[in-house]
Symmetry: D2
Subunit: 305 residues, 4 copies
């Protein structure tokens, strides 16, 4: 018999992941706040639910892939939320990038309904999601993780287990996003140093991406920054700042400073203040260039629109 | 006929590189301030010169691989320096990590002797040097670079050309070292955030080194920081600070701020202030942990009185 | 006829301020969560109310002087809050250090009850409060500010008007606290630079406090930092961090970076991580000294292993 | 008999100080690289010397008030320098803002000529110098300081003694300049936070300068920043950066980080990169405003000229 899964959140990531689940033989009951995003999946055989509560059945599995804490709280705890219907033996596989604090609060809440919370955030862009190449970090109760395992395998190329604490995998996801943002700032300063010394940005980015840092973040961001091309955005500056805020809040809750995260926070904030919030996060490099006196006056208006 | 090359500077890097040149069929005349380092190369057939000036012949090639600006200035311009003997049509292949400012000054000076300055700093640890796996960045006059090319190929796996400006390749080298130090700080903050949230440092480092950042710097530094093992040092904190000072001086000369480099400078400086200058650069992570209230529990009372 | 005033919040500041109001001839109905703090004021003639709601009468004036946002929300909006009883033509004079965001929310809420919100935070320590030497920043509706004016004059030596926007005076208060924390960090770095160069900390602090910076913050903090005496605390590190968080939240809401505030935030956070949260805010100087390798000589070996 | 004093360096500060010495009855032999600055003092009775060496006589006193290390080295150690002529029992009263490292080097050098080095840098603007209101920090050999004392009294309103180490008073001067630059950054962030929240910059600066920070730096810089008026410059951004570089070099030599000084260094550097190096140091506030998205596009060109 085919296992039914509820899937909530059909952005670019969610659609690709849900599609792979259907391809792996799961029956999906899907929900999105704006239902037009569901069309392709419905054509693949998914059933569109009118409310989060109707994606699920008692003891079933619900996956969430939403944009932020508020969206997840709303579908889990709001009116017509999925939690009550899921009930005893149900599992919530929580794959969004959210605050560890919310994960802890939700896990507590879930226990009242005897639902298990499995944290399972992912690394990878929409293309990686489509290719079943996501890296998935998990944490939560052992039995629930085991039940989720084959489902997660249908979406990713590797699963990393961070123990029983429900918030742990979310902390890992934030740490990873922080590393990515750090690489952007480092590349931006390095390429600007090169440019100020007459070195071609593209050649320099190319060197690093083929030698020391032959890994996708440096390759992708190096190219974007070298060419000053920040559209279409992967993760926008505004969403990048949201993540950095979660990083800093988590650090503050843990009573530790993260000076590099603070520096990134300030850099992302000023990028938004200059009107560039909807470009790719790598666009923070424009500020690095401006602080160096580059980007002549005539270029600036077209950039900052 | 076998081409003769002068090779000055026989630290761990220099010895490996010189050995590969001998292996490739070059006749080497070598020099080191402390001659005992030359023994193995002499056994391979190199001739030990008593002074830098005697490593060379008119119109020949001299390679330098020294620890800092002062050492290079001394063998090039000091008493018994190699420059005068090299003379017209000679080439100086300058492979050390030095300041772009010194490169410019030397290049100017070389012109008076009709010697060409070829900047050729390298990326790679001693093991990479031994395996002919260095990445080499070059800049300088076209004809001189061409003549140096086969010699450099005997030492590295790839050569990247940054044009005619003699300082350019040195700026590239500094930019690369800055990226490496940035990765250390980022990893240290990320792993400490994990630890403060109950996540095993080794598992976390392992995740990043197998997924997002599957490249040597994150793999090597991630492992060192996760395990807090900083001996034997690759590049010590003290030498790392030296490089960061060159980065910041070059940035200042270029009239640009590098806030992340400033942060790293302060981090490296405090690591030295705490008596850890001879550990590997990754040991700056100890300060990240201390600032988070880790590592110091037993000693805190006596500190905070 | 004597005007009756409700006064809520009897910490060290509140007690001194309330006492001056009694001295100026006002009849006070006071409230504090822990009533034992009210004894001295009751002896002066104040009436102790069992609930915030009973400090007030229709159309009257209520003053709040509480420790944080939560405390103010509780007495204003919670069960038995003062707001409902105050009603049409009532005035709430809000003197605590709170977030501008809460001020806006409260002001909106007040309008539903036809109560005017007057922001009136103060600068000054408890001794200044006792001496009627507070500086008071106000904002809110003109008529309400006029009515509050004589009451405020009984507590301070100067009133500065920042217009009609209810949150404005609270932003001013946060800006002032940020300036104070900045002076602490600056003094700590300056005195440590002196100490590392053999200069007596006390002589150096004394110079600045008599010449360039002959004003109380530099005099008071300079002395504390020079002598490393951080008890009894004026504003603790923990409360100082609370204020810096409000500063950074307000800046983020305003879409602007405050890199110096970020630096201070990190400094205060690490001071708490090291177990010093209940010392005076000036104790962040201990971390400056430690980062310079001072204070820790005897314990270093056990830390760095 | 009237004591003769050599006085070298006739910028705005030097002229005012020399004039006061003449007024106090000293006979001055003056020198400046560009002799036209000497006219007014010659009219007062000073004798213009053609070389530094001719400002002095054996066992006499020479005062220097120059713009930087290079200028001082040149008049002390260069051709026709004053040092040789000064000879045994001579005193060099060194009042410029210079690096502690140069002070140590000069003091060593002076000993070979049996000349005493007295460090005596000053706090105060040209107007304060004219009014004999300078604050003077001294260090050096006790006997030499005693001999210099009445001379210094003729120029300042207070003398602070920092012991025997020749570099000490110079460190103090740098620490003071660092405090001043810190106050600028703090004010700039505070006033910008106000502006972003609808608060008038001038009212806000006025509040601080009359209450918490009723001392000249906050009064003068607060007014400049509030009004965005940075001409005529007191200390330019370029000279301010020179001082911050001395601060950071001294800190590095002392093996200590100064994160606030690093932040200021980066701020000053970007101000210069944007073409504002010849404005008053307080103009770094323009960058704070720009990072907040203020200073609309149309205003920017006229500012950055």
């Amino acid at each position: 018999m085919v296992e039914r899964i509820g899937f909530i959140g059909l952005g670019r990531m969610g659609q690709a992941m849900a599609s792979n689940l259907i391809g792996a033989g799961y029956a999906l009951q899907i929900y999105n706040r704006t239902p037009d995003k569901a069309a392709a999946l419905v054509a693949q055989g998914a059933r569109l639910a009118p409310h989060p509560s109707q994606t699920t059945e008692p003891g079933g599995v619900v996956i969430t892939m939403l944009s932020d804490d508020q969206a997840l709280e709303s579908v889990a705890l709001g009116k017509n939320g999925f939690l009550e219907g899921l009930g005893p033996h149900g599992i919530h596989v929580s794959m969004s990038t959210i605050s560890p604090a919310l994960a802890r609060r939700l896990a507590q809440h879930h226990r009242e309904y005897q639902v298990s919370y499995v944290a399972a955030p992912v690394f990878g862009r929409p293309e990686a999601a489509a290719a079943r190449k996501l890296w998935i970090c998990i944490s939560g109760h052992q039995a629930a993780k085991q039940r989720a395992h084959p489902i997660l395998q249908a979406m990713g190329q590797g699963i990393f287990d961070f123990g029983e604490e429900p918030s742990a995998a979310h902390v890992v996801k934030l740490a990873g996003n922080f590393l990515l943002a750090s690489a952007i700032e480092a590349l931006a300063e390095a390429l600007t140093l090169g440019e100020k010394n007459g070195i071609d940005r593209t050649t320099l980015a190319d060197l690093f991406s083929k030698t020391l840092f032959a890994c996708p973040p440096y390759q992708v961001y190096g190219e974007m920054i070298a060419r000053n091309r920040y559209r279409p955005p992967g993760l926008t500056v505004s969403l990048g700042l949201k993540d950095l805020n979660l990083v800093l809040q988590t650090a503050a809750t843990s009573t530790m400073p993260m000076p590099l995260a603070s520096l990134l926070h300030d850099r992302f904030l000023t990028t938004i203040a200059k009107g560039r919030g909807d470009l790719d996060s790598a666009a923070v490099a424009l500020g690095v260039a401006e602080d160096a006196g580059l980007l002549t006056r005539s270029v600036r208006p077209s950039i900052s629109q």
